[in-house]
Symmetry: C2
Subunit: 504 residues, 2 copies
């Protein structure tokens, strides 16, 4: 007789081996975005498809399901907060999700999205949504099928959200975003009514690439990123990639006429990287050693990027250091002016360039459109008009064309529907966690202004990173901050900051 403890051991060995194989694909992915020569693209696709197929096949094998079943409801998982219970709970979730999708649908989705991507690239270049419309329609219909296979309690969008944010529902997300939307609109109006304006010019002087890299690397290291167990490399679209224990990689791009472009993206990715480096590596390859969700991951990147690195105390500490790196461009640097410049609020058309106030409005537009598409209330062909109308209403500007409108993001072409809300969940989580850290640590501004980031990092390590997937995101926020997630902390943060900057 195999005991539940034996089954648990077999299961974890099996899953960790699959994770090891997944992590091989991780390096291949990283390399594709950093160093792979153009000619290697086709071979790389073949390598990645092979590994993906092998991982999927092994994980969805009936043996995995039998082992999970042999352990769940046994004494091995008696304590619901134990490593064992965490692993079994989340493996059950993934196993059910993956096995509910018929192979034919997975293949159809893969084929369609890989074609859709090409059509999206062309449509965006030509700024012609019509070319992408039939593909968006196909993708939406396949995602509906996917949602129906996975199962949901009426709202198909729930099943898609759950892929990135386990346990989240459309209704819950809407209940958080709706008040946020209203309050952001009010704040934005007040800011736009102010006569104060930052002088952004200081950020657009000449910033040599090597000096940018040196400064960003220094700051990332001082925030706590371990470069013995990580790297920073150039790429086209910045990302963070966790290869495995001891190997977490940040990437960025450099614009010599825009200081903020690389710097804040490095700090953003450093936030992701600190989370990965802080996970309990002894459980690597199992849920107990993995990040909770995209919304929690994004909270770590946003916390360091916006709450730390766009704050006045941060620049009180680092502006003199920055001025040493760029003595010509920053000879006249003034703290107030610099902090105002890196926090300029300006409604714009492109999400990835948006400031802290308007960013979430961009996300809300996408959430509203996605939910309408998935419920069948909106057709693919209606997207451009809906998009433009929402931008006009929420941000007060109307895209001049589809390239600057509904064709700007790659996500839908990849089938990434249900992903956007995690960006705003990340901001909300970050705000609530940062407020909790401030309460716990006392003079957090003073610590930051003196370059002491250790206490804040340790707060995150203890409360978020080292817990792996012990809690799902909403519970985790409740446990750490004592409150359910709401728009309150983010609005408090934004009001305090921007009332002062814009003299409201």
């Amino acid at each position: 007789m195999t005991s539940p403890a034996d089954s648990y051991r077999s299961l974890t060995e099996r899953v960790q081996e699959i994770s090891l194989l997944v992590s091989c694909a991780g390096l291949l992915d990283w390399d594709r975005e950093t160093y792979m020569p153009a000619g290697g693209a086709e071979h790389r696709s073949a390598q990645l498809a092979l590994l993906a197929g092998m991982c999927h096949e092994r994980f969805t094998d009936a043996v995995t399901g039998e082992l999970i079943a042999a352990v769940e409801s046994s004494e091995v998982v008696a304590d619901p907060l134990s490593v064992e219970a965490t692993n079994i709970r989340e493996l059950r979730r993934s196993y059910d999700r993956e096995t509910r999708l018929p192979k034919s649908l997975v293949e159809e989705l893969s084929r369609t999205t890989s074609l859709a991507y090409g059509h999206w690239v062309e449509a965006r270049q030509a700024s012609d949504f019509k070319r992408f419309e039939p593909w968006l329609d196909k993708v939406v219909k396949l995602k509906m099928q996917e949602a129906d296979c996975i199962g949901h309690a009426g709202q198909r969008y729930d099943a898609l959200l759950d892929d990135h944010e386990p346990g989240a529902t459309t209704q819950w997300v809407a209940s958080v975003l709706e008040p946020l939307r209203a309050e952001l609109a009010g704040l934005l109006e007040r800011i736009q009514g102010s006569s104060r304006r930052p002088r952004g010019e200081i950020l657009h002087r000449r910033y040599a690439r090597d000096a940018q890299e040196a400064f960003a690397t220094r700051v990332a290291g001082e925030l706590g990123f371990d470069f013995q167990a990580g790297r920073l490399d150039p790429t086209a679209h910045p990302f963070c990639c966790d290869i495995g224990p001891g190997d977490t990689r940040l990437t960025t791009r450099y614009n010599e006429n825009d200081f903020g472009d690389a710097f804040f993206s490095v700090i953003h990715e450093t936030g992701h990287g600190l989370y990965d480096q802080g996970l309990p590596r002894e459980h690597w390859g199992l849920p107990a050693g993995e990040p909770v969700s995209l919304g929690i991951h994004e909270s770590q990147s946003r916390l360091w990027e916006n709450f730390v690195a766009r704050s006045r105390p941060f620049w009180r500490h680092y502006l003199p250091v920055l001025a040493e790196h760029f003595s010509q461009s920053l000879a006249d640097a003034d703290l107030d002016a610099f902090v105002f410049a890196v926090n300029e609020v300006q409604p714009s058309l492109i999400r990835v360039d948006a400031d802290e106030v308007t960013y979430n409005l961009h996300v809300i537009v996408r959430f509203e459109i996605e939910t309408a598409l998935l419920s069948g209330q909106m057709a693919a062909g209606d997207v451009p008009a809906a998009w433009n109308e929402k931008y006009r209403r929420l941000l007060g500007i109307t895209p001049p064309d589809d390239a600057h409108g509904c064709l700007q993001d790659v996500h839908w072409s990849h089938g990434g529907i249900g992903y956007f809300p995690t960006y705003t969940l990340g901001n909300l989580n970050a705000a609530q966690l940062f407020a909790a850290a401030r309460e716990k640590l006392g003079d957090l501004d003073g610590l930051i202004a003196s370059g002491q980031f250790g206490p804040l990092l340790e707060f995150l390590r203890a409360n978020i990173h080292r817990r792996g997937q012990q809690y799902r995101a909403p519970e985790l926020i409740q446990v750490v901050t004592g409150k359910p997630l709401s728009h309150q902390a983010l609005m408090d943060h934004l009001r305090t900051k921007y009332e002062e900057l814009y003299g409201l």
Copy 2:
């Protein structure tokens, strides 16, 4: 009934999928030697061990053997020079080799060599062979077992040689190396008797890293290396790594006080890379699309490094270009002096630093010791004395300690016995191929002096690269050059070159 043609198709699909998995490990290996952070070493070992195990398991599965058996002696392989016959012949060879090794021996070798490597590192640091001796002894005994499992006609060393140089025998290698050894000794004596000496100082001025990289990249590209399908990156020990079609990677290291260090290593690796890029990629992952042997691979690197890039015509073309890259260090550069400097002959203790004349003597020392160890005529403990005596006799110098003597190479600690001879086979192959190219192309020196490398590359593409493993190495040399391999062409090349340089 499955036809032999169906079996052939199943077999090639199976093997190409395994090759795809092997190529994933290829990228992981490349990354380990270039960009991997130190902290990632343990995880990387686990990834590579997993992939190696999976590849071995799949390839040695009985199904592979059954498919091979179903095709061989069928009409599919009727033409012995066809792609099909090539694939079946060489897959049979690999399958037999791999399946003859019991798993216990493979694991024991892997365990022992991974420990032996650590002990070799320590022993070399301490320059104390005694610390490595028991490990060399273990490795040799395991390699004896390996040879006995694989099978041989009396000489165990044959079975090891065959791993790197299919079909080569100890007797055949000895029959080529013995006359080479005698003639090299004579040439070296005459060179040492000359009063002419080059002024090496010109190579040890200041050569900025970036300019070295720019120059080497330019030359590699002009020789024919396709940087759309490849890269050049920094590493500690230069190598070339073929990830797959469209993705061939060169590496080098830079020494700002030694021009030759990076430059000739880049050209050497470019030679390897040109071979890889020139293979028939439609057969990638099968013997018909793979390089013949280490000795043929090394012939390509040596041909471009020594026969092209150390020649006077080459520098007639490139010295002015080099002087543009290093205008300060090379203001007074003189063609004759420069060519003499990059061809200085000087017996030295370290193989990897050796010149064209003495290099093969270093290899011959190792070949003689390895064959004596494998036949049981020499014990591990006798190696230092034998080594030092052979260096004294062949090169006229005696290592002051083991670090500069028998501990200098990593190969034995890895179990790489039977590998060294392929270095000299590479030089011999290169010489014979270059002579054949000269005969075919007419004024090869004139082509090189005018920077026209295309005809030479096309000669190699047509005669070597595009053939994959159609012929084994000795046959290939016979077919391309019309003669069996001998020491003659290399000695002709060396005599002509050094008689002129040293005024003999």
